[in-house]
């Protein structure tokens, strides 16, 4: 149902004139998230300031069966924040405060629009931090992170968003406001907060979030290894895990990626290495020396040609800069690429990568790999010439085959980016019809009226274009690090 001028007046009465955006320009700004392939203009954007305003808005929308799509920073890569069925985009941008900080209990209540990095910056003087660090943390919001159960390079040791959320105040589809979980580590009953986290705004809208805080690690060591085969790098990752060491991060870049970064930034990364492995350990200073030694021994046993250990913060930053620039480096060279977010058991990484290269090669395509190796979370980039429609079709096909391979290997189609619109159709390949039916039943218990972010996650009403996130052709300035995955 298209919105009428009367509707807009009603909304202004609820949220104030400055809380309602309906101009063509504003609607255009909100037509997509970072999955630029799926564009759908909302009818209106609303900017509530409080839980009560969100509740009032949701009640209003439900009474009229107008879809509500929650939105944080719009950095999602799956089309989750895109108003596929029109209606209202509910932006939490004006709800961006820390509400309460309890240093002794090591927790904070925050509004969902608070930017991830801003939270940790506020906590830094207290020696505390919020652990989940998605690469998009400079812009993405705690609410968006909660809704996607975001991960990050350091979630190998610290866990994903879910592990750091104690409680959440949500607005349900009927406009009621409930607190799920709480401030204590354990809450009564089954884990309702756990069901809402990662539900991509389809079960409830998070309006206040209780995050768990950790003491900042005393020390950090960052290491860089270079291998002549990608298999050896993957086996080093497995060996470290099997030895009972849990590094903060383990990331691999393949040769294609390293070369692109070197062409661009000249960081001194080994161009002829088949794989560069970055391992970071953190924690009490007394623990790290032994860990660094053990990790080095594993890497040597598996044939690393060199071991570089960052001597200071500047060198550490330089090493990470290389890793973080991968995404920008692809953007500079390929006119089109698809990025996937599949996961395989970490013991099958080497095999999985061989498959990725093979699936691309037989289609005459290049692939680059840069990934969260410690978690088995792949981010293959399938590259193509955006002007060549046939190449693009082959790239899409390769992308689907790569995700199918992840499923076959006992993994999944998304480790951190979510399903949204983009991977909806693949859900049928990952899950049996009964699995999906039970998920639909759960959704019906939370949101029976199809008002909250309709159409996302579960296949059914339209499967979208089912294309993995297309981020290609994104030009980055030469001096910018650019975003990274």
């Amino acid at each position: 149902m298209p919105l009428t001028p009367v509707h807009l007046d009603e909304l202004r009465a609820l949220l104030g004139a400055d809380g309602v955006l309906a101009s063509e320009a504003a609607r255009f700004t909100y037509e997509a998230d970072a999955l630029a392939l799926e564009k759908h203009m909302p009818d209106v954007i609303v900017l509530p300031r409080s839980t009560d305003e969100v509740a009032a808005l949701v009640r209003w929308a439900r009474a009229r069966r107008i879809p509500v799509t929650p939105r944080g920073a719009g950095t999602g890569l799956a089309g989750g924040a895109t108003a596929e069925h029109g209606g209202i985009v509910l932006s939490v941008n004006r709800m961006d405060r820390m509400l309460r900080l309890d240093v002794d209990a090591m927790l904070a209540w925050v509004q969902p629009g608070l930017v991830n990095l801003a939270l940790s910056q506020q906590l830094a003087p207290l020696g505390l931090y919020y652990a989940p660090d998605p690469a998009s943390q400079q812009v993405s919001t705690i609410g968006g992170n909660v809704a996607t159960n975001a991960g990050g390079p350091h979630c190998l040791k610290y866990g994903v968003t879910f592990n750091h959320i104690l409680g959440v105040v949500v607005v349900l589809e009927d406009g009621s406001v409930v607190t799920l979980g709480g401030e204590a580590p354990d809450s009564p009953d089954f884990d309702l907060a756990g069901a809402v986290i990662g539900s991509e705004g389809t079960l409830a809208i998070a309006t206040e979030i209780c995050v768990r805080l950790l003491p900042r690690p005393e020390a950090v060591k960052t290491m860089l290894f270079d291998f002549t085969t990608i298999e050896a790098a993957c086996r080093a990752v497995s060996a470290v895990i099997a030895d009972g060491i849990v590094p903060a991060a383990m990331e691999i870049m393949d040769q294609h990626t390293t070369e692109l970064i070197e062409d661009w930034l000249h960081l001194g990364l080994p161009r002829d290495a088949a794989a560069v492995l970055l391992i970071e350990v953190d924690g009490p200073a007394v623990s790290l020396e032994a860990q660094v030694e053990k990790i080095g021994a594993h890497a040597r046993a598996l044939g690393t040609r060199s071991i570089r250990i960052a001597k200071d913060d500047a060198e550490r930053a330089a090493i990470w800069r290389g890793r973080k620039s991968a995404f920008g480096a692809y953007g500079r060279t390929a006119s089109g690429f698809y990025i996937m977010d599949g996961v395989v058991p970490r013991t099958r990484l080497a095999e999985a990568l061989a498959e990725v290269y093979r699936l691309c090669e037989v289609r005459g395509l290049d692939a680059g790999n840069v990934f969260h190796a410690g978690d088995g979370n792949l981010h293959p980039h399938v590259l193509f010439d955006a002007r060549d429609a046939a190449a693009q079709a082959r790239a899409l096909d390769a992308s689907h085959e790569i995700l199918r391979m992840c499923i076959r290997f006992g993994g999944t189609i998304s480790g951190e980016h979510g399903v949204g619109i983009e991977k909806r159709s693949m859900m049928r390949e990952l899950f049996a019809p009964d699995d999906l039916a039970v998920m639909a039943r759960l959704r019906g218990a939370f949101a029976p009226d199809g008002v909250l972010n309709p159409g996302k996650i579960l296949p059914g009403d339209g499967d979208g274009h089912s294309a993995p996130a297309q981020m290609g052709g994104m030009r980055v300035r030469d001096d910018a690090q650019g975003p990274w995955i």
Partner: protein
């Protein structure tokens, strides 16, 4: 889709009902299926007869529960006890839910790994029981609870639907986290048949330091304030009357036991930091002995059937201050995890900082706020969605039906 029942229930339910009494009342039927297909067939057959079902794990907690209003069929899941997959290099494990926590512990120890789930009487408590109770013990804060460990699950709904959510890899955001929802569901949403879990490396070194403490010292918040940032494995307060059960009486009114687990250099440094603030302990246990003590502390949970369990965000022994006057002399408090178990029947004046979690309608009995009412309604809707026939009998008392 519902599995068609092929055989009548009487043929499938061949176990002895007398062994499955809850609060003294036995069901009409009991079954101990050994295959998940058999579980599905069984519940589908029971659904035809509209029977009230209770899933059973090792029976550590169930016999002491209040008798359910309806109770026709006990489904004992302990015969589903295979470890399906354990790849040490993946640090993940997939097992059927009837396997005991102790069996898993032994198997993982051989690979210097652990599943840091804690349950009272680990030799009987099952994986499914620990998940369904969202069981946690002294080390809860440091190592997480079931919902932090579970990666995916296969389960049967009471209408005979067999389904799964999540997976076996350590990172996964595809689809709803029903497996997390099942943690703490206490047998009234689904029968959990199989779970995949994230493991942890076993700590290289463990130390438990026992301190003798009088009441004033116990409640001196400032004294303990340094502990949370040191990230100890546990800090447990045990009242004198219970210390015999754990075999490390300090002789004082209360024992505070500080557990440290990590690599040796860091444990040594932590130990020195603890000693600097609160002095030398009266007893000190290491490695296997410290591990055995942790299990005895977890066992205290079941010290007495008359038990009230609370949680609080207070994360040091000082959190007991507001309740101290009525605590009595039989309680155990896992401080960083904020779990308090008080034994016996004496009346307790509970301050707002504590939430009772074992009572019917947890926290809602006294709590009539809009949020609590909303949560109760949501719970009831979830039950209606997953168990429309209300076959899982324990749900009655949690959804106020």
């Amino acid at each position: 889709m519902t599995q068609a029942a092929t055989r009548p229930l009487a043929e499938l339910a061949t176990a002895d009902p007398a062994r499955y009494a809850i609060g003294g009342a036995a069901p009409r039927f009991a079954a101990r299926p050994a295959l998940r297909e058999a579980v599905v067939e069984l519940v589908a057959a029971a659904a035809l007869d509209r029977l009230a079902i209770v899933p059973w794990g090792g029976g550590v907690a169930l016999p002491h529960e209040t008798t359910p209003g309806r109770y026709d069929l006990a489904v004992d899941l302990t015969a589903l006890d295979r470890v399906i997959e354990h790849d040490p290099e993946d640090q993940t494990l997939t097992a059927e839910c009837g396997v005991t926590i102790a069996t898993l512990r032994r198997r993982l120890a051989a690979h210097r790994q652990e599943l840091p789930l804690e349950a009272a009487h680990a030799d009987r408590a099952t994986l499914g029981g620990a998940l369904a109770a969202n069981a946690s013990g002294p080390r809860r804060l440091r190592f997480g609870s079931p919902r932090d460990r579970i990666l995916g699950a296969r389960f049967a709904l009471a209408d005979g639907t067999f389904a799964r959510s999540g997976g076996k890899v350590v990172k996964n955001v595809a689809g709803y986290g029903i497996h997390r929802l099942l943690c703490g569901s206490r047998g009234w949403l689904a029968l959990i048949l199989e779970a995949s879990l994230k493991l942890a490396p076993a700590p290289e070194h463990r130390v438990a330091l026992v301190y003798a403490v009088d009441r004033a010292t116990l409640l001196d918040g400032a004294r303990w304030a340094f502990l949370p940032r040191l990230e100890p494995a546990f800090v447990t307060v045990v009242s004198e009357a219970l210390t015999r059960a754990i075999g490390v009486s300090s002789g004082a009114a209360f024992s505070v036991i500080v557990g440290l687990e990590d690599d040796r250099p860091w444990v040594a440094q932590q130990e020195a930091a603890v000693a600097k603030v609160i002095g030398a302990p009266v007893a000190r246990l290491e490695d296997d002995e410290a591990g055995a003590l942790v299990q005895r502390l977890a066992d205290l949970e079941e010290a007495d059937a008359a038990r009230r369990t609370f949680t609080t965000r207070g994360n040091t022994p000082g959190a007991l201050g507001p309740i101290a006057a009525s605590l009595g002399d039989r309680f155990v408090f896992h401080a960083p995890a904020g779990r308090l178990h008080v034994f016996g029947e004496r009346p307790l004046a509970t301050p707002a900082s504590l939430t009772r979690i074992d009572a019917r309608g947890a926290g809602t009995a006294a709590d009539t706020t809009a949020s609590a009412t909303g949560v109760t309604a949501l719970r009831a809707r979830i039950r209606a969605a997953l168990d429309p026939g209300k076959a899982l009998a324990l749900g009655d008392r949690w959804t106020g039906m």
